[in-house]
Symmetry: C2
Subunit: 342 residues, 2 copies
């Protein structure tokens, strides 16, 4: 019995973020000054920005858009201690519209922000549902757990509970395990398994039983490394990328969701590039998607997404955003994707 | 938009264990000396117990069966540092049979032990599957997360991945969300929801569609407080306890699993009492179940289980165990359920 038991001398490493800290620093678009002012100084400046005859948006941007998550957290703490009010509440009173939403979402810690976006998505199922897929498929296991903790304390329910309650049919079949799974993050790949599961996927897709429980199982539980191997084998062996075969009926919403899922899991930068492209192109811009991508990715992999964007659209992302947004909102977005000095 | 955002000044409390530490101390059967020897002294004594002509089982029991999880962890650390060998490996060499299994499982930390038991259960689906239900339904959210972390580092896969892969049909439909969910642990109850979901459960059970997705959703995602309210309403309003209605076909394995699930979720001490009763009554005793219940509950709620056992069986649990087991194995089990001096 004990072969496995005897391997328990491992040091237990907490779930890793999927990228090393160094990799994230390189891929993040956020610019933080080499020696930032103290949280107390930042809090004081922010307090000043709210004082006088009208808010100093420029000052708010110059501070908040150039601080990382732990710095922002400290600023909020010091602000609450010093001025007896939650910084978020003050921002909510002083700002408005898309600029407000951007600043508020950005100021939150990543796990708070994701819990908020996920909760919003469970309620407005149709339009902003993709947030659930993005969160479930592109955050690290460590982060996913933090999100679920915040969700409990914030909403007095579990994320999976709300998702299950507000969905039905095929969507529920896919989304509930998607938001519940905490995938293994190691690099190990089982090639035999990749082949056999590529065949299962191909068989089911050929039969058009897209929500088959085996399809759901493979997509919602396998590690990303294993899934990449499976989908590569699918492509090599059956002649098409899986997402091409999942386009049989381009209007089918469940197929769209499946394609978004595989893309988020295997090529997140391409997924986010496309979302940005579509949100900017739309008549009137899809501000929610734009704000979501930028506030959630600026500290993680926005440089990769910008690269992808330029490659696909010839124009750089900053120019596209500048052409479609205005004022403080525009300035905030551009600061987050790396414009200006920190 | 911001009503919810503005409630984010909460201090984030890590997922609570469901009982306070004090409650656990009262309900645990484990007896730890008020001033225990240092981990170094314990390690040295254990090392002596393995030396000479034959192992000193008595000494091993007198130490390990009277140390709590953090003490055992320290002993293992010091032992490895001092003698260059994992204590578990040494125990594996020196001991045998049921006594060995008991000592090894007990010596592990709770999350390591549960990960091991869960992994074993995914492989031997039919006989020891209940371990998955017990773990999913009776551990705190904090503990569940630790178990999934250990599972990743130990088995290079996720728990939900293995459960999904090794199961099918109705069993998969229930077990995968059961092991994936991290339920909200607060006391809040929504009475309207309890009524409407009691009706859903009753309707589906009356139609004999036991694995209906709504039944699965309610049972696998609702908080325990909410489920207790729902099942109380079920009982009051429809005349039978749900588990009575789930006995329509006493031989049906899926119904057995459903009954075990609701019982683990709402009355764990009754679930464990019954498991002990059945394992002891069996011709030859079901040692695996007996060892599992005692090693996993001794530090948590064994006193409540003993109380339940005596009430239901007239004889106390220690007498029942003494009548059915022998030697060091018997001594170890009795020590864990509170016999002898610490």
């Amino acid at each position: 019995m004990h072969r496995n038991l005897l391997h328990t001398t491992h040091t237990l490493i907490p779930f890793s973020t999927q990228k090393s800290e160094k990799e994230i620093l390189i891929m993040a678009s956020l610019k933080v000054p080499q020696s930032a002012p103290s949280p107390a100084e930042d809090a004081e400046q922010l307090h000043k920005a709210f004082g006088g005859w009208g808010t100093n948006e420029h000052l708010i941007i110059s501070i908040l858009a150039h601080r990382n998550a732990s710095q922002r957290k400290l600023i909020r703490q010091v602000y609450a201690e010093t001025y007896g009010e939650d910084l978020l509440k003050t921002l909510d009173k002083e700002l408005s519209s898309d600029f407000e939403r951007t600043v508020l979402l950005w100021t939150l810690e990543p796990s708070e922000r994701d819990a908020y976006l996920a909760n919003e998505a469970t309620k407005k199922f149709t339009s902003s549902n993709w947030a659930l897929v993005e969160i479930a498929c592109t955050r690290s296991s460590h982060e996913l757990f933090a999100i679920r903790q915040v969700y409990h304390s914030q909403y007095k329910k579990s994320l999976e509970e709300d998702v299950a309650y507000h969905t039905s049919g095929d969507f529920r079949k896919l989304l509930v395990p998607l938001v519940s799974s905490i995938r293994y993050e190691g690099p190990e790949v089982n090639t035999m398994l990749a082949k056999s599961e590529a065949k299962i996927l191909h068989d089911k897709i050929s039969e058009k039983v897209y929500s088959d429980e085996e399809v759901i199982r493979i997509i919602t539980t396998r590690s990303k490394a294993q899934l990449v191997a499976t989908l590569n084998h699918y492509n090599d062996h059956f002649g098409n990328a899986i997402n091409k075969d999942l386009k049989a009926d381009p209007k089918d919403d469940f197929l769209k969701l499946l394609r978004a899922t595989t893309k988020c899991l295997t090529r997140p930068e391409k997924y986010f590039e496309k979302l940005l492209r579509q949100s900017i192109r739309k008549l009137g811009t899809d501000e929610r998607a734009l704000i979501r991508v930028i506030t959630t990715r600026a500290e993680f992999d926005m440089e990769r997404i910008k690269e992808e964007y330029q490659r696909r659209n010839t124009v750089p992302l900053d120019r596209a955003i500048a052409g479609d947004t205005t004022g403080d909102y525009e300035k905030m977005l551009l600061a987050l994707i790396g414009h200006g000095n920190a």
